[in-house]
Amino acid sequence: MHQTIRRPSGAWWRNRIALLALAMSLGLLATGRATAQDEVRVYAVINEDDVRMLADMFTAETGIKVSYLRASTGELVSRVIAEAGAPQADVLLGGPSAQHIAIEETGALAVYHPAAAAALPAYAVSPEGYWTGFYLTALGIGVNLERFHQLFPDTPLPATWDDLLNPVFKGEIVMTDPVSSSTAYLFLQDQLQRLGWDAGWAYLEKLAPLVGQFPASGGAPPQLVGTGEYALGVAYVHALIRYRHDGFPITTIVPPGTAGEVGAVSIIKGGPNPDNARRFVDFVLSAKAEEAFAAQSFTTPLNPDAPLPEGATSFADYDYIDYDAELAGEQRDEVLLRWQQVVD
């Protein structure tokens, strides 16, 4: 009880040692930024199974290690732009060309003209060399057959975009918020471009009140339709096909006058491994890689030498509008602003 107080005491030393250990611990944590060896670093919008397959093929062919970080389109776009001063990644793989264009506008992409681009259609290549398309997909309507037939036994499946305006579907349609999703923005532009500006907005203003919810994530509509929470959803056809392939009771309808979307790859300006980035892009655009990717992702390859997977329907066979991607990009701010006025 009666102890002489003297300094420094054991407690004092223990405190200092604890603080020192803490500082050392934080210091060790800070060594995470490793020096790259022969490597390429990829931000991947495409699914993890798909990027892992491409990475393994590329490494087997070149010996170059592939590190990838998979995330949603929006998250990776934000990340690339935020990191522009000191990029961590070399390549942005996948996602619609519109998003690559959006990043290009901020100056965060490098210029590269891959040899394979020469054989691609004009709509699948950036003329300035900022991005190149490697797959094609399209917008479609996903239907949960069980829920649809239970709720609407006497109504035929919607076959056209205009069929979605049936008031009986109120609360049973799910579509991503166009503000946060390039998929849904493509849908807006599809209606505006196929119907014209005024008639297009009339369509959208009629459809919006019928939609049950506008989730923020592009992956949500196929999930919500797949599990039977909603009867109808607007999504990419390849995503809907994959959910059906997994076992969900979804059927996919591709209405006439739909819009196609080019999935692209681009090189990030100032990335740590620019040479390997170019080699990786060349690989992704090769017939071999595109064939393997298409077989697993249910998309259509753009390389004319890549065969279509057995039993698959080419997206090129759908009834498309003549989609103007440049116009869509120019109108984006105006369209999304008006959408946010129209939809509460």
Binding site: M1, I5, A11, N15, S25, L29, A30, T31, G32, R33, A34, R41, N47, E48, S67, L69, R70, A71, S72, G74, E75, S78, R79, A82, E83, G85, A86, Q88, A102, I103, T106, R147, G171, D177, V179, S180, S181, G212, Q213, F214, A216, S217, G219, P222, T227, G228, E229, R242, Y243, D246, G247, F248, P249, R332, L336, L337, Q340, Q341, V343, D344
Partner: protein, 549 residues
């Protein structure tokens, strides 16, 4: 005034000044710095857009509505639950006391999926069992989801507060003839007022910044936090998302001010932890109340069990909710991704340690040491809770992407992001506990020649050890499952289980997401059990030596 205070500190207590400097430096660098970065993003056009768009005006109103509803319901449930397991000692109290941790542990998106699978239009409970065709999407579903998400916070804070109440005071009141209800209303609840205020503040601010729940079950009922996320991840509209995020700071500061005012008005009446602790047991509660409380605990536990059961089912069946064929393929996937699990645990433990030390130091500096600018210190510890995690994460990237603080891509930025995210709660837990200490305790130590820092480590910290453990546990559990802050901070060499789970769910790989979530929950609970064994033994030794002394 300021300089004189610093001079006095330097002469009498260099240790305290050093602690003050470290805390201030940390807060300036990792809280104020990123916030300033956020504040610099919006242009005048962004502000005009935010203020005039009807969608966001409605989102602001919706945010206030959920703020009120969810705060009250979470606080009520958390208080009742904490009272049940601490004072009322319902049957199975020890077991029930652990249950809320499972809710904290489950990663947001998996919790959301479980919620939908149980209570959705095709939910196991709603549709399959009860035949209901109800929709959980909207304000009502969000309210329920937020109550279940945030009541564990109230529970942890109130649990510490109830345990710190001196049973002698309650027994004295009973001895003077007060009935059970009167003791509860006039003695017990007033004594835990600091805890109630702290919990209310943090819940309300957590609700402000919550985006996981609104995203999954909000439906078309949009709040500002989801608007921040959609602006940020849609087309990288940093300016607009920053402006929306800053709007959330206004109610946060208002709430902070209100809490400070109420706490200052009531502080002197409630300091109770004195020189001699009582060994008297707490008064018993009426049998009917005891069983009513037991029922509440049981219902919460059943829901938690159902949620965990659904997640486990997803991990072990072929297709969650569709094809119930048993399979181990999802578990095999987890075995190939143990790196992320290890990172999540290691980073969370480090963040919890940082958070606990900072919380104790900051709480002591503000509550007892009367250092200069202590109100600013108090406010700075709170602000991270008001900014949606996604925006804070991007702010970290913008602030620390280039020298002199180049941390992007490192583990340190994740650890610091986690610690900053949960500092508001940890700090409040410690502050509430210190607030219940009689000031004479550490003043006596100072009069005997001990430094303030010595008083802190030798007297104050042992007395508030329950709060320190609660802070560590809370920060650790939350950090393991956290998503919004770290989603932009993970990198090629620093994967986290929680972000992988989100990715898997986003790709429709629910079996793998459920398997990884199950593994995360199991490993984290094992870690907590280990922590309990270690700290339990230490606490027993401490008790023994005190009794002997």
């Amino acid at each position: 005034m300021g300089l004189r205070s610093f001079g006095r500190l330097w002469r009498f207590d260099r240790g305290l000044l050093l602690a003050y400097g470290l805390v201030a430096l940390f807060l300036l660098t990792f809280v104020v710095g990123p916030l300033v970065r956020v504040a610099l993003e919006p242009t005048l056009a962004d502000w005009r857009l935010v203020m005039t768009t009807p969608r966001w005006q409605r989102a602001a109103l919706n945010t206030l509505i959920t703020l009120g509803l969810s705060t009250v319901s979470s606080l009520l449930l958390g208080t009742v639950y904490a009272y049940a397991v601490t004072r009322a000692r319902v049957p199975g109290a020890r077991f029930f006391g652990v249950v809320p941790l499972f809710l904290l542990l489950t990663p947001p998106f998996v919790a959301g999926l479980a919620f939908i699978l149980l209570l959705g239009r095709r939910g196991l409970l709603t549709y399959q069992l009860l035949g209901l065709e109800t929709s959980i999407y909207g304000l009502h579903g969000l309210w329920l989801a937020q109550t279940l998400s945030f009541f564990p916070v109230a529970y942890l804070v109130l649990r510490s507060a109830f345990l710190a109440v001196d049973p002698g005071l309650e027994q004295a009141a009973r001895g003077l003839g007060a009935g059970r209800g009167q003791v509860l209303r006039t003695v017990t609840l007033p004594l835990v007022t600091p805890g109630l205020l702290a919990a209310a503040l943090f819940i309300s601010i957590g609700v402000l910044g919550d985006f996981g729940n609104p995203m999954l079950v909000g439906g078309r009922f949009q709040v500002l936090a989801t608007a921040v996320y959609t602006q940020l991840t849609g087309w990288a509209s940093f300016g607009t998302s920053a402006a929306l995020g800053l709007v959330l700071l206004v109610p946060a500061v208002v709430l902070f001010g209100a809490q400070q005012w109420v706490q200052a008005a009531t502080r002197q009446r409630f300091a109770t932890v004195g020189g001699r602790s009582s060994s008297l047991p707490a008064p018993t509660v009426a049998p009917w109340l005891r069983w009513a409380l037991f029922t509440v605990c049981l219902l919460v536990t059943l829901f938690v069990a159902a949620s965990q059961g659904v997640v486990l089912m997803g991990a072990l069946t072929k297709l969650w909710g569709v094809d119930f064929t048993p399979t181990f393929e999802h578990a095999k996937y987890v075995l190939g991704h143990v790196g992320g699990l290890g990172n999540s645990l290691r980073f969370a433990a480090t963040a919890a340690l940082v958070c606990t030390v900072l919380s104790l130091l900051a709480a002591y500096l503000v509550q007892r040491a009367k250092v200069p600018l202590r109100r600013g210190l108090d406010l700075a510890t709170l602000l991270p809770a008001a900014i949606p995690g996604t925006l804070m994460g991007v702010a970290f990237v913008l602030a620390f992407n280039t020298p002199p603080f180049q941390l992007t891509g490192t583990a340190a930025i994740i650890v610091i992001g986690m610690a900053v995210s949960y500092l508001p709660v940890g700090y409040r837990i410690c502050a509430a506990a210190i607030d219940q200490l009689r000031p004479s305790l550490d003043e006596s130590a100072a009069n005997l020649g001990a430094s303030r820092l010595r008083a802190l480590t030798s007297i104050v910290a042992p007395l508030v050890r329950q709060a320190l453990v609660a802070t560590f546990v809370f920060c650790f559990v939350q950090s393991v499952g956290t998503l919004s802050t770290v989603i932009f901070l993970v990198s090629f060499d620093t994967p986290l289980a929680s972000v992988t789970i989100l990715n898997l769910a986003d790709q429709g790989r629910w079996g793998r997401a459920a398997a990884l979530a199950s593994a995360l929950i199991i490993v984290t609970m094992l870690s907590l059990a280990l922590l309990y064994l270690i700290t339990g033994r230490s606490l027993k030794q401490l008790e023994f030596s005190r009794a002997g002394g």
